[in-house]
Amino acid sequence: MDKLQQDIERYLHGKMGGEELLAFDLRLQKDKELANLLQEEQLARKVIREAGRLELKETLQEFENEIPARNLTPRVIPLWIKRAFPVAAMVIIFFGLYQVFKQNTMTPEVAFDTYFESYAAPSVLRDNEGSAMMNWKQATQLFSDGDYQEAAIYFDRSVGEVPSYQAEFYKGLSQLSMEAPYFQSAVNSFDRVLETDNDFVQQARWYKALALIGMNKQSEAQPLLKEIVANEAYNHQQAAELLTINWKR
């Protein structure tokens, strides 16, 4: 970086003082080229500031999208509901499929509720890791208990105890299993799973597609669903069904 550029930066940061500042101001009045360089620098910084604001607003919108419908309390499922859940789930799935075959029209919310089935809880690992696996064990217990909000926190902490793709997959799954799912966070987690080749890639692709549908982003879900169908991957039949839906607003 040349001396002039350094001076301009110091001037804009208010790091000039006394005689140096007076001299620079005087030079600006006389030296048109310097004035132009200063103006260029100010415009560039203005563009960067606007770009930063736009990017920050997108980040805030992600927070907004994750605020559930005024209900942030974690769900702890009573035992009788857990026992009745498989039967209820089957009824809901049959009803959902009936609706699909009947008219093939659904809202994204109904589609998500119809097609989302949580993945099996992670198996308990052998206890030869001592306290090093504490977060993972706590996370799997919370997941099994249906306390998905807390489970997501512990899965996040368990990165390092288990492969990160495994922790991210179950974290995303926990976020989708909540009563008011955190769709964007789940998508972010599944994206991290999809960054590498691992045992959870197929499942992550399916759940990411569902999360996108939950966010009403069917056009982004479509290529994933097509990929699942083309590869006859995890839940490819359900993916094929989702591709035939006429989305109701």
Binding site: M1, Q5, E40, E41, L43, A44, R45, K46, V47, I48, R49, E50, A51, G52, R53, L54, E55, L56, K57, T59, L60, Q61, F63, E64, I67, R70, L72
Partner: protein
Amino acid sequence: MQGTLAQRNRALEHIYRENRDKVTNYLRANNADEDQAKDVFQEAVIAMYENIKEKKFKGESAIGTYLYSIARFKWLNQIKKNSIRKDHHDQLEQEEDFQSPLATIIEGETKEGVLQLLAELGEACKRLLIMNFYHEASMKEIAKNGHYSSEQIVRNKKYKCLKRLKELINQKPALIRVLQGNG
């Protein structure tokens, strides 16, 4: 708002969740619809973030109170701008004034122009310049996040990116006029 970008995002998310309902409820009670309330609240959070960085907010009041004041001031300005519900505006105007400069998100053609410029600049340069100038991230943090091998490489890259941005701006006189007009 100190720390890494990830830490700052977590802090912002906490502030967002803690204050959203209180502020948007106030705005909706003052005739903002759901989208307007959300937009004003988000711009208030951005203004708060910038004022903290620029040390204009030094923690004299609680964050929630500060956000509420900014949002109220912004909404007042918007009402004034739209010249609607004058009586209500007069009532609000009697309340505490808020003098700090406030972030306003660009829209329409200006936004399109800036986005096009950034697209031409490229993702790596855009990221680096935003991190350094807007978030005031250190060269060390940028080097770590951007997978640059040293801080000196980041400095060189920043200089080149800034130069390239200036060249691109100079090719867009219409955008220059708009940006100069925005103050």
